[in-house]
């Protein structure tokens, strides 16, 4: 039986995908129902099972095409590992707390999930690659592009703020 703390963790994970509280709750509820139907089977790690179920359910709901990140193979291969290690490091990015919500609004569900797993669950890139069943190179490319986008967005916001100020 999932306890309240676990349910809240799963709810936050669902929010990282849906970015809408109500939709996240509906998603969680339907996945808890699915989980309960499987209760007669032995589930070794209920939290991992639930996260996978929530993810699959969300992909089904959004018909997959908007969720999945696509990158051409030649682009993946062109990214050198060490370079990507440096460029995909998100630790050096800074943000004001009130800007988080607007930043998340601009991201795709897949990107929000990636940030959630990295920042909140504190998974490494390798762990996320295993969980999401994507090659590490794909994930590095994605992080690289995500970082660039966030930086670009922040700089454009600053320009906007300056314009508003002046």
């Amino acid at each position: 039986m999932l306890d309240k703390k676990q349910l809240n963790q799963l709810y936050r994970f669902a929010i990282s995908l849906t970015h809408q509280d109500d939709q996240a709750y509906d998603l969680l509820q339907s996945c808890v129902e699915k989980y309960l139907k499987q209760k007669h089977r032995e589930i070794a790690n209920p939290m991992a099972y639930m996260k996978q179920t929530i993810r699959n359910e969300f992909i089904d709901q959004t018909r997959k095409q908007r969720f999945q990140f696509e990158l051409r193979p030649e682009v993946i291969e062109s990214i050198d590992y060490e370079q990507s290690q440096q460029e995909t490091s998100l630790e050096d990015l800074h943000i004001q707390q009130e800007e988080v919500e607007s930043l998340l609004c601009t991201l795709l569900p897949d990107e929000r999930e990636l940030l959630y797993l990295w920042a909140v669950v504190e998974y490494t890139i390798d762990e996320i690659a295993i969980l999401k069943q994507v090659p590490r190179g794909t994930l590095s490319s994605k992080l690289h592009r995500l970082k660039k986008r966030i930086q670009l967005q922040q700089s454009s916001d600053n320009v906007l703020h300056l314009k508003v100020k002046s």
Partner: protein, 202 residues
């Protein structure tokens, strides 16, 4: 426009998500759903057990029987001892002879279902022993011969047993053995490829 101090991205995201939590009603709904499902599961398991109870009882009986058989097999006495008990039992029955003769050849011809020829044992010299007759008997589940012989020294009737030696017997009966079983002295040994046994009442 006043801006708060910037956080690292991970800290900011953590703060953002930690502020999100299910309402008390939502938590209650999910917890109730789970509790109900647990109850239903228990009910279904009980129902399933009722449906399969005969299979369960049959399996339990089979298991019990297997345990009993295994236990009795493990506690069986050694083969040589079992044969000696069987010989003592055969002797105690005092079954009448089927053919009365003092000729081993004649007895052998009569007991023609035996898969081995009867032999004169070197342990029973003709000066001291007189052959009276014979019949079929069973030793260790196989057809064997029970011969009645008279000891001319003590004037007592003995029963002499001759049976084919299986590989199991030849392994355990490397030397002659003698044992008193319920007032009957039984000795067994191997001779000329046969198992021989001699029994007499004390």
């Amino acid at each position: 426009m006043k801006h708060s101090q910037k956080n690292t991205l991970d800290k900011a995201l953590k703060t953002h998500y930690e502020a999100k939590s299910l309402s008390a009603d939502q938590l209650d709904t999910l917890m109730t759903m789970q509790a109900t499902a647990e109850e239903n599961l228990l009910t279904r398991l009980l129902k399933d057990f009722r449906g399969y109870r005969y299979a369960f009882y049959a399996t339990a009986c089979l298991l019990l029987m297997t345990l009993v058989v295994s236990f009795s097999l493990l506690n069986r006495p050694p083969l040589a001892e079992r044969i000696m008990h069987e010989i003592a039992y055969n002797h105690q029955q005092e079954m009448p002879i089927e053919i009365a003769s003092n000729s081993l050849i004649s007895i052998g011809e009569y007991l023609n279902k035996l898969k081995f020829p009867l032999i004169n044992s070197s342990s029973l010299s003709p000066q001291n022993w007189q052959l009276l007759g014979g019949r079929y008997c069973s030793i260790n589940g196989k057809l064997a011969a029970q011969l009645k012989v008279k000891n001319l020294q003590d004037n007592k009737t003995y029963t002499l047993y001759q049976a084919a030696v299986g590989s199991d017997i030849s392994k355990v009966l490397t030397a002659a053995k003698e044992q008193a079983i319920e007032g009957i002295t039984v000795s067994i040994w191997q001779e000329k490829g046969l198992l021989l046994g001699l029994a007499h009442s004390n």
